[in-house]
């Protein structure tokens, strides 16, 4: 029965000591829709990247129709009929639908010349066969997200892929677009295709998947047929009922944050184009001595909200206040002048300049203070830099480019810089990404110290342990809206936060 089997797959990331997949067994049957669910970082994407040849397992084997296959690249995957649609589409905006679909496997006329008519004909026949609604000659950049996704799927069909992997296919779609996607998927399985659906959304799993595999902490915790489990059981499987929650640990429980607000968002929204709002009427506030945690599954607005509060992205609606002053759509420059400290989730591209020297990286937010009449005071800069290197035990030559440092040292550089400003408001986003547990503990301590000094902390994190261990108040985002505002008073559990994350509490 099993058509594709992954056996004993293990993948260890040496850079940050993460065991992403640990002895994973996974089995796909013909004509089924198999959902793969789990928290962020549970290992779903790693497993699928291995199947698609983007990564190599340290251990384990893959069998197709009973014989072992070695998938070393997406090209190999294609040879074995395995295709993948990534969460972020990989289409060429200036090409037409047909050109994107045939790209890489063009029908040739006399060896060299692209046969455009034949290409469009082939695309049209796929379109008719499976009921797609895409004009082959339309240019991709003018398409809606739903149409772009159809193009991605048609691309796999054009290549005669038998196994289709879809990574979070519904995260950008509206209700009607999701319905039509699911209709298409059903039709594809009837035509003999097998589909793996990576998703966070339990309602989707229950409505479409024939079977579901739950991953947690790099392991498959079980595979179930439709009807065998319900929403509540699935969410318990995903977040684990056996976990000892450390809610309340280090949290100033019961403390009420009335009155003074350092930072406040009122009805903040972001809309762009035809897709559903990325953020919808977000209201939240941060008081002195409070850690406000914001969480949510990937694609639900966490990153967008991070961009808004740091001033990197303009709003379509709503207001932002700092100590009662309206700072809506201020430039980052103004935000920085107000003294905001901000540790971004993307520390490699946004949080640091890898080609610039360690020293140049450390002074980006306070070089104003080191200059007089526009001339930099090198002695003061050097003493500041060597002080920070000592304080945060960063191992590196201040005059050499940052990319020569180890990942951990780069992380510490970002922290050292952001924590060097005197401020009453700090934004942390995914503060422990890429850190080992000792370094993570250190960061937690820093965050708590800030809270205890009466500063306001806004913490974005997709790691629920982190949220429950640190935050006084927890906001859960789902589909760009606040699905729940929860007080972390000691009774809050990971499971409960999880149900909000999966949209179970607000759906229907």
């Amino acid at each position: 029965m099993a058509y594709l089997t992954m056996e004993n797959i293990t993948r260890f990331y040496r850079d940050n000591h993460v065991l992403a997949n640990s002895n994973v067994d996974f089995e796909l049957r013909r004509n089924e829709i198999h959902a793969l669910v789990g928290e962020n970082g549970a290992g779903k994407t790693t497993l699928m990247k291995i199947l698609y040849g983007l990564e190599q397992p340290d251990e384990g084997r893959i069998f197709l129709n009973g014989s072992e296959v070695f998938i070393r690249s997406p090209l190999d995957a294609n040879r074995y009929g395995i295709g993948m649609v990534h969460q972020h589409f990989r289409l060429i905006p200036d090409f037409t639908a047909a050109e994107n679909i045939i790209f890489g496997m063009e029908p040739k006329r006399r060896l060299f010349f692209l046969n455009r008519r034949e290409a469009e004909e082939m695309v049209r026949s796929i379109s008719d066969q499976f009921g797609f609604d895409v004009d082959p000659s339309a240019v991709v950049k003018n398409m809606t997200v739903g149409e772009k996704q159809q193009v991605e799927i048609m691309r796999m069909l054009y290549r005669n892929d038998e196994t289709l992997i879809l990574d979070e296919p519904t995260s950008v779609l509206t209700g009607r677009q999701i319905e039509s996607l699911f209709y298409t998927l059903k039709k594809l399985t009837r035509a003999g295709k097998s589909i793996i659906l990576i998703t966070h959304k339990l309602n989707e799993v229950l409505s479409i998947a024939d079977r579901v595999s739950v991953m947690r902490q790099g392991k498959v915790k079980g595979t179930y047929r439709r009807g065998e489990v319900d929403k509540k059981e699935l969410s318990q499987l995903i977040f684990g009922r056996d976990v000892q929650f450390f809610a309340g640990r280090g949290v100033s429980s019961g403390h009420k944050f009335a009155g003074k607000k350092i930072f406040e968002l009122k009805n903040v929204s972001i809309r762009s184009g035809d897709i559903k709002p990325l953020l919808d009427s977000i209201c939240l506030s941060v008081s002195p001595g409070e850690i406000v945690g914001v969480t949510g599954a990937a694609g639900n607005g966490l990153r967008e909200l991070e961009d808004v509060v740091s001033g990197l992205r303009d709003l379509s609606g709503g207001q932002v206040f700092y100590h009662g002053e309206d700072i809506t759509n201020f430039s980052v420059h103004k935000f920085r002048e107000k003294g905001f400290a901000y540790v971004p989730a993307d520390r490699m591209k946004r949080g640091s300049s890898l080609q610039a020297s360690l020293k140049q990286n450390l002074i980006i937010i306070n070089h104003d203070g080191f200059s007089r009449f526009g001339i930099l005071n090198r002695r003061r800069i050097n003493s500041f830099v060597s002080k920070k290197l000592r304080q945060f035990s960063i191992d590196g030559n201040p005059d050499l480019p940052l990319h020569l440092l180890s990942g951990g040292n780069i992380q510490k550089t970002v922290l050292a810089r952001e924590l060097s400003i005197e401020t009453d408001f700090i934004i942390f986003s995914e503060p422990t990404w890429g850190l080992d547990s000792a370094a993570g503990e250190y960061v937690y301590k820093k965050i708590r110290t800030h809270r205890d000094k009466g500063k306001g902390v806004l913490l974005f994190s997709s790691n629920l342990d982190e949220i429950l261990g640190l935050a006084d108040t927890v906001f859960v985002l789902f589909h760009g809206r606040i699905a729940g505002r929860l007080d972390n008073d000691g009774s809050l559990t990971k499971e409960l936060v999880g149900t909000y994350m999966l949209g179970l509490e607000i759906d229907e």
Binding site: H333, E337, R350, G351, A356, I364, H367, D368, L376, L404
Partner: protein, 349 residues
């Protein structure tokens, strides 16, 4: 780590030397193939610039405008901007300097000369700044706009030199001579070398200081290396597009102005041609280091003087000399551009 970086620096240093050496070798081979008296031709090519005060001084003088244009290009490069309009900018700077000198007969030498230089460099700076402005305003590709604007300006300047400001008594297509009070003192008679070389050296030091010791230079460098990081750090990124272009144009304008006051004492049709492109090669060899621009410009001037000497003494023609220079330019740019692309690609990953 440290060792790896040191090795990188050593490798790139030898890389530049290798490219320069290969260029010279190639020039020699080419002369051998194309000249009927190859041995003297090669000898003059390599030693010509050192044979007399005249040749040596002229070589140093030829390096002056290249230092200015090289500095201008380096500045823009530091902000990750490609100013391809150097030819038009230096020509414009030269013409405006000449015209201001001609229009101010009653000024004394110093005030008049400074006013003329200021006007010339300002005109060239504004011309370049236009490309930066168009990029900020409408996201026009600044590489293309600077090139196209400059190409048009070259014809405009030609029109004024050969028409409106032409000296009717001269057989050259040129403006009249400027007043001799504006001439910069000569240093190595009978060569054309003048005190303008001190201004060029001073300019390099000032630009070095600006880039590496000021807040402004720091912010601009950060915008060039990773604009997202600069923006995140609170730097007003869009202001570092127009400004670097303006300064880049300013340096080109000064190059043109000093060529007039120090060397030519008038504007002749096409007399700055090649100095703009030369500046790009100089900046590339110098890896955008303002102090590195000085030896790089000298190397380029040496090459130029060598081919002139070979031309004068043997049957090497102007075309052969031009081909040799073109190949050298090709070698240098390919090496540097490849390493530039490699760096870009790595920073994308």
């Amino acid at each position: 780590m440290n060792r790896r970086e040191k090795e990188n620096i050593i490798v790139s240093f030898w890389g530049v030397l290798l490219v320069l050496g290969a260029s010279l070798l190639f020039a020699a081979v080419l002369i051998f193939l194309l000249s009927s008296e190859p041995l003297p031709a090669v000898k003059y090519f390599f030693t010509g610039p050192f044979l007399s005060r005249y040749f040596f001084g002229n070589m140093l003088d030829a390096a002056v405008p290249l230092i200015f244009t090289g500095l201008g290009i380096s500045l823009a490069f530091k902000a990750s901007l490609f100013n391809l309009g150097g030819e038009g900018q230096i020509y414009m700077g030269a013409l405006v300097t000449t015209v201001v000198c001609l229009a101010l007969p009653e000024f004394n030498g110093l005030a008049g000369g400074l006013t003329a230089l200021a006007a010339g460099s300002l005109a060239a700076g504004l011309l370049a700044a236009l490309s930066g402005y168009l990029k900020v305003k409408w996201n026009v590709d600044s590489m293309i706009s600077s090139f196209l604007l400059s190409s048009a300006v070259v014809y405009g300047v030609n029109f004024f030199i050969t028409g409106y400001f032409k000296d009717p008594s001269s057989s050259l297509l040129s403006t009249p001579f400027i007043d001799s009070r504006y001439f910069l003192p000569h240093l190595m008679n009978p060569s054309t070398l003048s005190t303008s070389i001190f201004f060029a050296l001073g300019g390099a030091v000032i630009i070095y200081f600006l880039l590496y010791r000021t807040r402004w230079g720091y912010e601009m460098t950060m915008c060039g290396l990773n604009p997202e990081f600069a923006r995140y750090g609170g730097v007003n990124v869009s202001s570092y597009v127009t400004m670097p272009f303006f300064l880049s144009g300013l340096m080109h304008g000064l190059g043109g102005g000093f060529a007039v006051l120090g060397t030519y004492h008038m504007s002749i049709k096409g007399f700055t041609s090649g100095m703009g492109w030369g500046g790009i090669a100089v900046a590339l060899i110098a890896k955008n280091n303002p102090l590195g621009v000085i030896p790089a410009a000298l190397f380029f001037a040496y090459l130029n003087a060598g081919s002139k000497a070979a031309m004068l003494h043997t049957d090497v023609t102007f075309e052969v000399a031009a081909v040799v220079e073109a190949f050298v330019f090709f070698f240098i740019t390919s090496e540097v551009i490849f390493s530039f692309i490699r760096r870009k690609r790595r920073s994308l990953l």
